[in-house]
Symmetry: C2
Subunit: 500 residues, 2 copies
């Protein structure tokens, strides 16, 4: 910070840095809870989380914050401070519009709902979760009205996770994408050239899987001096600070795909966070710009890189160095086809890359209808199953593998799901743009994964939250959201595999 | 908390709980830094530590805190709150007596001095460290005068770590202890029956050492659901909350004693913290009452239990289950004698239990003289070496193995060292008292280590900071500090080993 700041700017930066300190502590606490923490300490730890979170909340909604916003918004000449002010203003405005007692009630509801959901899912009992979900939907409708919106009430929820994206856009894009995917899926189903996934479902010791993924992370340019890899039940990436970006993964010794693709996925998130410009450190801008853009990075590495033929041309021998004998006799083509098997599944997180976006659209359509009060919570299980049958051709046998499978709604997250499908589309658009700069497949085959990382850093990572998601997309690809690239990518790839 | 509290009491407890939350975050950060954290994240992490620490400092010295103290000190009828108020008052009074600018200067000096010390020790160059140490001593003299004292200026520093202990007491006890130890050491030196330590210096794989220590920790009653064991460079125990008390250890594959006795030592600290009464949770009372009493617990397990013959009678077979072949032919007596070899060493942390307290007395005498301005910093190396020769019969060949070996002074800790020797003496007094309740050696030989833990919990652990160190000693043993028990213990044990 060799820049010259005004007194207010300096005070604002110090204030932001203090908020960041609590965030860093909270992130470490979450990481620890999910990787290392002894179980009896969790009760007190939860209280501590509550105390630190409410400290952050008080600071982001304080009169002091309001003063900073008012004083700096029009006056500051520093573009980073200006953008940070806008970011703070957004959070401030959202927070102060919610009456304190309602917010308190909502926070309590969230934590109750999450544990009820867990039990309800276990028992596959939607009725148990229903009253909580009803209240959560009601709160979200009420909050959305407090926040206000131009066109569609759901827009204001979308805006939390993917600023700039609206119902109007999604309603244009998603149906096109859905039709294309359903058509592709039909072709897959009719194909006589189906891969046999069982050939790759061989026992693969955890420690050897880990060694392989560590080597790939290294190749991708993940900086192990600014991060680490641990085991967990639910894989995640978490940023403590810009030079401490950790990832976790889980292992299935009978299906290496979980850890290998899971780790590369989280590695993609981590590369984003590790490569944000140092200039943004200590401000709310030093993080990925949106859920969708973040997901475009993780999916880029997981699918467009690591599930490509070029990748396995390059790394299949490396893989075999760590894999047990049983893998050694599988021909490359057969291996490649097997890891790319398309098979409609009940569970979203087990879906392949072709059917995955269909899972998202089901959730989008349902939650949009819930928020605009076109459907009732009580009708969800039936509607869910109908859509599954419609889009994927399979009907869940119970709510556990249907409407109860995801945690998001129990935490009150409405508007989040679309990010996943956006990530797929953004990613395909970025792949297209990257191919204008250099032959991506050739680079992968040459083992130049760092070239991909560099390109993504220059185009996306460095900006953190300085640019809005659709501005990034525009600047990099010259276009707005466009599903055609994803469809074309899938068509080309799966035509080759399924030979229709 | 089913008690009825007044409004002020409730507010005070909430305030204390918030301070605890920052402490918990800080503890986790320290633990993480020393066990897991990627190195590039350390810079930002250090800033974060500074921010959280100064938040704690602001809260413990705030006007609000002063109000709580004034309102509750004489009014509260709750003994826990009353004691917590006194504890807060003590911290408050100490803090506000230091002018803010001097404190700031001192904090900066501390961190500079620590890194200068590291380099100076590396280079064995006292001159390099001298100006920093001079300033640190000056500050401590100045602060001690701000704080005030009755008899000796050093008393007010002692009081930080071991409330109730004074120079008067130490000057009675230490010389007696020193004379006895020097006499015992003479007998050891003249003995013709010296153990051969080389027989136990066999390669012992780290993972197997760990398995053995885990089994012993389990036997001691360390609760692994409320803690965990990790690797580190400098072993420590750290309390995140009462149900999350972690320990770390380091391994030397050519000398198992480092990890085995080190882990049991930290385990002793951890048992103390794990077994404090739940009623004190969330207050500053939920921690060990003093450095000396804490050390009495760790040393109790390390020496009085784990270096005893009874312990190895019981656990030598267990040990052999994990130890390599080379150990299997060593007879129990020879093994026992070897792990208890007495040999004067330059380095305190490598000292045996007989010579260890002599290292402490050297430091005590020197720092007391520094603070009372009877000697100058520049004369330290020479005085140090003279005393080493006098008490231990060896003269350091350089400052690295002499006056520069310990980190404490570089952090401004004067008054801390005596705790170590107090821990030895307290421990021997507790052992004597425990033997009035049951035959300790017999219990160890029966593998009833938990009986020892239970006794220590009832007598000491549960009280946390509710009792002052000398009150605990009095209540448990009926006596005040008395070095005779330690001397008798050492005499008996080493007469048996060295057969004089």
């Amino acid at each position: 910070m060799s820049k010259t700041y005004t007194k207010t700017e300096k005070a604002f930066l110090t204030y932001l840095r203090e908020i960041k300190a609590y965030h860093e502590a909270l992130s470490l606490i979450f990481w620890d809870l999910r990787t290392k923490a002894p179980k009896k300490g969790v009760k007190t730890r939860s209280e501590t989380i509550g105390i630190l979170s409410s400290k952050v909340h008080r600071m982001t909604t304080s009169d002091r914050m309001k003063e900073f916003i008012d004083q700096l918004k029009d006056e500051t000449k520093d573009p980073i401070i200006h953008k940070a002010v806008l970011e703070c203003e957004k959070k401030y405005e959202r927070s102060i519009k919610i009456p304190e007692d309602e917010n308190k009630e909502y926070v309590t509801l969230q934590s109750q709902a999450e544990s009820v959901w867990e039990e309800a899912r276990e028992k596959s009992d939607f009725e148990m979760f229903k009253p909580y979900l009803e209240k959560l939907v009601d709160f979200n409708i009420k909050f959305a009205n407090y926040w206000g919106y131009d066109q569609h009430i759901y827009d204001t929820l979308l805006d939390i996770y993917e600023p700039g994206i609206t119902v109007k856009q999604l309603d244009e894009v998603f149906p096109k994408l859905r039709t294309s995917l359903v058509n592709l899926l039909e072709k897959v189903k009719r194909s006589k050239n189906k891969p046999d996934p069982s050939v790759i479902l061989q026992k693969f010791p955890k420690e050897d899987q880990k060694r392989f993924t560590l080597e790939i992370l290294e190749q991708m340019g993940y900086d192990f001096e600014a991060g680490r890899l641990d085991d967990t039940v639910h894989p995640f990436e978490i940023t403590l600070n810009q030079q401490d970006v950790r990832i976790t993964t889980r292992y299935d010794e009978n299906d290496f795909r979980m850890a290998v693709f899971g780790t590369i996925h989280e590695g993609g998130h981590a590369l984003y966070e590790q490569n944000i410009s140092d200039e943004l450190e200590g401000t709310p801008l030093s993080s990925g710009t949106s859920m969708g853009i973040h997901e475009s990075q993780s999916l880029f590495w997981e699918n467009y890189v690591a599930r490509s033929k070029a990748f396995w041309k390059r790394y299949y021998n490396t893989f075999k160095r760590y894999a047990p004998e049983e893998f050694h006799s599988i021909p490359l083509d057969m291996f490649y086809q097997s890891i790319n098997e398309v098979r409609p599944s009940y569970i979203r997180i087990e879906a392949d890359e072709m059917t995955y976006p269909l899972h998202i659209m089901i959730r989008y359509e349902l939650e949009k209808a819930l928020i605009s009060q076109d459907i009732d919570v009580k009708d969800l299980p039936e509607l869910w199953n109908d859509k599954m049958e419609d889009y994927l051709g399979i009907r869940p046998r119970n709510d556990r593998e249907g409407v109860l499978q995801d945690v998001h709604w129990s935490g009150g997250s409405f508007g989040y799901f679309p990010s996943y499908a956006l990530g797929y589309m953004y990613g395909a658009q970025l792949l297209h743009a990257m191919n204008q700069s250099f032959d991506v497949n050739q680079a992968i085959e040459n083992g130049e994964l760092k070239k991909i990382k560099e390109w993504l850093t220059v185009q996306i990572h460095q900006y953190g939250k300085m640019k809005e998601p659709l501005d990034i997309l525009k600047d990099v690809t010259g276009e707005t959201l466009n599903p055609d690239y994803l469809v074309r990518y899938l068509e080309k790839k799966y035509q080759d595999i399924y030979q229709w």
